[in-house]
Amino acid sequence: MLEVHKIAAIRGEQQIFGPLSFAVPKSGAVLLVGPNGSGKSTLLRILAGLGRIAEGVVNWDGQNALADRASHGARVCYVGHLDAVKPALTARENLGDGADVGLAAMALSHLADQPARFFSAGQKRRLALARLACSVAPIWLLDEPTLGLDVASVARFGDMLATHRATGGIVLAATHLPLPLPDAVELRLA
């Protein structure tokens, strides 16, 4: 259970959003929507323990999650705008431990031993998403995850999300595109 109490973010002198409070129960999903610059990415980075939190508390199972950001990092699988794919490494090497599960989940198994520099933008995106299937982290933070994906890959991604939620994992996703997340709670940032 992820609980967010009155958090706010400041960039420069300006408050981007907040104070904002919500809770995500086990197997829950939250869709962050709002215009450009409304702080969706900033909120995801704060929840990952990467961004600077101006005020408020983030609790995981009743404990302050951001007190120890290193161990909070292990609870989180974050897919941002950047794919974090190394062109010189093969798809399998890019994923590291448990690579085959991830590659199969995003239908990249046939490219496992290809260096990622031969990948198209969409394939790199799929490789970035395949990282989710390799991880055991309960919290998935996704920033525009389906940007540049074809229809079949979005469907596969939907299966991954469903599996993750079926095992009690939670998903927070910022998006402008429709996501395969049934019964997700919409959180609108102004």
């Binding site: 323990g49 990467l50 161990s71 990092g73 794919d83 974090a84 190394k86 010189a88 590291g96």
Partner: protein
């Protein structure tokens, strides 16, 4: 600890794939050292006298070359975020990076220093002392370098700022390193300067990663 070694292994693999980048700093070391006989004349006695200083300065400069990519590449492609979320404290991420810099740059420099020392007519009896100084010396350069590289992350023209930050920090390393070789050349005990280097290393192994880790965190914000 597994995560720590997997970061190191991944960096080593990337360095092997980018072989040209890895070799560049070694070739830079050889070529700058080879310029000195051309500039100050090939008299064997002069070269032998200057050899430790030349080797130390060139090694220092060569170790700087790959620093701006040490965290820069990971920062630009988003890998840095994943490293910070790996479950490892940021300081250990920085230590893993410094270790891989040393394995890819410092250790090869140490080996290449042997033929370069011969080329500069260094007395073969001084070679062990020179290498004994370079061993902690290159490790210190990797630690200072990683700290500097983390600090300039995200700064505009960080690559220019980096030597200005790292070179003053490296001055004590240079002083004690050359002092050890000079003491040996004057038939004096070289243990004291070498122990100073070792003490410096013992202080920097915990302190530099802490500073670098804090810098990585603030770069990610």
């Amino acid at each position: 600890m597994n995560i720590f070694w997997s970061i190191v292994a991944r960096d080593l693999r990337l360095s092997l794939r980018h072989g040209a980048d890895t070799l560049a700093s070694l070739l830079f070391f050889v070529i700058t050292s080879a310029l000195f006989p051309l500039a100050i004349g090939p008299a064997p006695e002069t070269l032998a006298r200057l050899a430790p200083g030349i080797i130390w300065v060139c090694a220092l400069l060569a170790a700087l070359l790959p620093l701006d990519r040490l965290f820069g590449a990971d920062y630009e492609d988003g890998t840095l975020d994943l490293l910070l979320l790996s479950g490892l404290p940021a300081a250990l991420v920085a230590l893993a990076k410094a270790l891989s810099h040393w394995l890819v740059t410092g250790l090869p420099l140490l080996l290449v220093a042997i033929p370069v020392a011969m080329m500069l007519n260094l007395d073969p009896e001084l070679l062990p002392v020179l290498l004994a100084g370079l061993l902690p010396g290159t490790a210190l350069l990797s630690l200072f370098g990683a700290t500097g590289a983390a600090l300039v992350l995200g700064a505009r023209r960080g690559g220019v700022l980096l030597p200005l930050l790292v070179l003053p920090l490296a001055a004590p390393v240079l002083i004690f390193g050359v002092a050890a070789a000079d003491a040996a050349a004057g038939a004096q005990a070289s243990a004291a300067p070498l122990l100073f280097l070792a003490a410096l290393l013992a202080a920097c192994i915990p302190l530099c990663p802490l500073a670098a880790g804090a810098a990585l965190r603030s770069a990610a914000e």
